[in-house]
Symmetry: C2
Subunit: 358 residues, 2 copies
C-alpha cells in the first residue's frame, strides 16, 4: 500500500488512525495497469478496451476504491462542491431548496455548501467572490430575491463558476434559470375569488424592486381586468413580505368603506398577518373576509382558518437547478431539465363567497 507513515499525530491526542483507503496507485498496481489507465476508467474515457475497463472496475470494486475528491480538486482546479447562495427569510423555502438540490446530488461526489448573504451589505460581493475563488465551487444556485441581481450572476460567470438562478419569471437563459410562473398562479387564484362572487378584492403587494412582487401584482391586476372589475389605487397596500407588514397593510385595507370582501396577499406571511389583523378587529374569516396567500408554507395550513394559497414545487425546482449545473458531467444529468415549473392553487378554508350586502 501507499506509504503514509509520515502522518503526524492528530493534535489533541489519541485519535484512532483513519481507515487506510486504497489510492489510485494501489489499484493500478493490483490491476497490473498504469495509473493513467485507472484514471481513464474513473473518468469514463471512451478510448479503452472493454476488457481492460472491466478488469480495472472489478479491482476497484473489490478494494472499495473511491477517488480522493481533494486530490481531484487540486488537479482539476475545481472543487466538487455546489453552493447555495441565498438571502431568503423563509426558512422552509431554503430547506426545501436544499432538499431538492441534495436529491440531485445524492450518489454523486458533490456536496452542498450553504452561504446566506446580506443584500445591502457592501461586503456582499467580496464575500461571494472570496467563496468562489477560494473554494473553487463547481457551481452555485442563486435563490430569490438575491437571484434577481444581475451583477451577481455576472460575477459568477467571470469567476468561471457555473450558476443557476431561481426566480418568478425567466430572467436569464434557460441554462441559467429555473423559474415558476407567479403571474399565472396569482391570476388563477384571483379568478377563483371572482368565481366565488367577490367584487371588491384588494391586494397586499410585495416590496418594490422584487421581481416576484411585480409578477404577482401583475397577475392580480390582469385577473381583475379580465373580469372587468375595478382596481382602485386604495385597494393595493404595500407590504414587505413580513407578517408585521401584512398586519399593517390589512389595517389600512380593512378601514376602507366599503371594505374589501377578499384580500390577496403576495405571500403567506403577509396573509397570516391579514388574518391576524382581521381577528384583532373581530372580522370573521372567511364569512366577512376571504384571504389568499402565496407559497404554501407550513404556516398556511396551521392558522385558523387554514389559508388558501399557491404552492410552487420548490423541491423539484431545486433538483432541476442542481441537475442543470451538473449537466454535461460524466454520467449525470444528461437529460435536459425543464426551466419553468407550474404552481398549483390550494383551496382551504380561508375563502368563501362574500356575505350578502347588508
Amino acid at each position: 500500500m501507499t506509504d503514509r507513515n509520515h502522518k503526524s499525530p492528530a493534535r489533541g491526542g489519541s485519535r484512532p488512525p483513519e481507515t487506510p483507503r486504497p489510492t489510485i496507485n494501489d489499484i493500478a498496481r493490483l490491476a497490473g495497469e498504469s495509473k493513467k489507465t485507472v484514471s481513464r476508467v474513473i473518468n469514463r474515457s471512451p478510448l479503452l478496451t472493454q476488457k481492460t475497463r472491466e478488469h480495472v472496475e472489478a479491482v476497484i470494486q473489490e478494494f472499495g476504491f473511491v477517488p480522493n475528491p481533494q486530490a481531484r480538486a487540486l488537479a482539476l482546479g475545481r472543487n466538487f462542491l455546489i453552493g447555495l447562495i441565498h438571502d431568503n427569510p423563509n426558512a422552509q423555502m431554503v430547506i426545501n431548496m436544499q432538499q431538492g438540490i441534495l436529491e440531485a446530488l445524492r450518489h454523486t461526489e458533490f456536496e452542498l455548501v450553504v452561504r446566506p448573504v446580506d443584500r445591502g451589505s457592501p461586503a456582499m460581493f467580496d464575500d461571494v467572490r472570496g467563496l468562489l475563488t477560494r473554494q473553487r465551487l463547481f457551481g452555485v444556485v442563486l435563490l430569490p430575491p438575491i437571484s434577481e441581481n444581475a451583477q451577481l450572476a455576472k460575477l459568477c460567470d467571470e469567476l468561471g463558476c457555473r450558476y443557476v438562478r431561481m426566480g418568478s419569471a425567466m430572467l436569464d437563459d434557460p441554462e441559467h434559470m429555473v423559474s415558476s410562473n407567479d403571474r399565472l398562479a396569482v391570476m388563477e387564484a384571483t379568478r377563483y375569488l371572482i368565481s366565488q362572487g367577490h367584487v371588491r378584492i384588494a391586494l397586499v403587494a410585495g416590496p418594490h424592486g422584487f421581481l416576484s412582487a411585480h409578477e404577482r401584482r401583475e397577475g392580480f391586476a390582469a385577473a381583475l381586468a379580465e373580469a372587468g372589475l375595478k382596481l382602485p389605487r386604495s385597494f393595493i397596500a404595500d407590504g414587505q413580505y413580513t407578517f408585521e407588514s401584512g398586519i399593517g397593510a390589512a389595517d389600512s385595507l380593512l378601514a376602507l368603506v366599503p371594505r374589501p370582501t377578499a384580500i390577496v396577499a403576495c405571500n403567506d406571511e403577509m396573509a397570516a398577518g391579514v388574518l391576524f389583523a382581521a381577528r384583532s378587529r373581530g372580522i370573521a374569516v372567511p364569512e366577512e373576509l376571504s384571504i389568499i396567500g402565496f407559497d404554501d408554507t407550513p404556516l398556511a395550513a396551521r392558522v385558523w382558518p387554514p389559508l388558501s394559497t399557491v404552492r410552487w414545487p420548490i423541491v423539484a425546482m431545486g433538483r432541476a437547478a442542481a441537475l442543470k449545473l451538473l449537466s454535461g458531467v460524466t454520467g449525470i444529468g444528461e437529460v435536459q431539465e425543464p426551466s419553468t415549473f407550474v404552481s398549483t392553487f390550494i383551496r382551504r378554508g380561508s375563502v368563501a363567497p362574500p356575505a350578502a350586502e347588508s
Copy 2:
C-alpha cells in the same frame, strides 16, 4: 509567476480565464524566502524570527495571496469543511443553526456542508461514513434528534472526525456537547400556569425515545409534583412533534370530563395543533383553555392568539458548537465555549387564568 499554461480549456466553451492567483511559490520567490518559510508564516509556526515573519506577511498582503484550500486539504488529509448532520423537521431550527455555525465560521477558511439524513434508513450510517471519509470533514455538528444516537457519535470518532452534539441535556463530554436545559424550561413554564391558578393541567408529550421529549415531560411532572398537583395518566397524551399529532392529542384531552384548563405541548407544532383543535370545537383560547408551546418558532407568534412558548438560543448554540469544533485551531476559538444554554419563557396571549368553575 508559476507556469500554468498547461490548463485545458473549460469544457462547454468560452469561459473567461480565472484571475490568476499567486501561489506560495510566487510569494516565496518574491519574498526571497523558501516555500516552507512562507508555509510557516501561514500556519503561525512559533519558530520564526519576528523579522522574517513580518516581511513575508507584508509580501502576502501586497500580492493578496490566499492559500489554496484544495492543496492544503490534500496535504493535510483534512478538508476545511464543517458538516451539519440533521434529521430535524423544523426548518426554522435548522436554518437558525446554520446561521449560528456560519457566524462562527465567518472570516475563517471553513465552509459549511449540510447533510440531512434519514434516521430509520439502514443506509444512514454508510451515508455518513461515506461523507466523512470521502470529504474528510474537519468536524460535524449533530442536530437532535439524530444527535442522540450514540453510535453516530462513535462513528465520527472512529473516522477521526471531530463532532459536537446538540441536545436537550448533557449526553456527552462538554467538549462534544452543547445543550439546553429543557427540563428546567418546561418546569418554569408549568409553574407559570400554576401561578395563574390552573389546577387541571395536561401535557401533550413528545415521541418516545426522544431525549427532548423525556426531559420536557420530566420538567412538567416535576412542576406539578412540586405544587402538590395531581397528574392523572389521562392528562398525558402522546404526540409525535407534528401539527397533526397535536390535533389528535388535543381531541382526546379536550374530551375529558372535567376538561383540563391548560395544556402544555412539548413543541410549538403540537401547540398549534391544540389551538387548531380547540378552535374547531369552539373552545375559546385563552378564556377556556390556556396553551403553552416550546421552541418559539415563527408559527407561535403568528397564530391567534399568539402562543406562550419557550425560546432556546439556537443561533448562539450553533455558534458555540462550531467554535468548539474549531477550538485549538490557530487563531480561532481559543476561548472556552459554554456547554449549556438557558432557555427563556415567552409570555403571549395564549395563557390566562382559568375561568371560574360554572
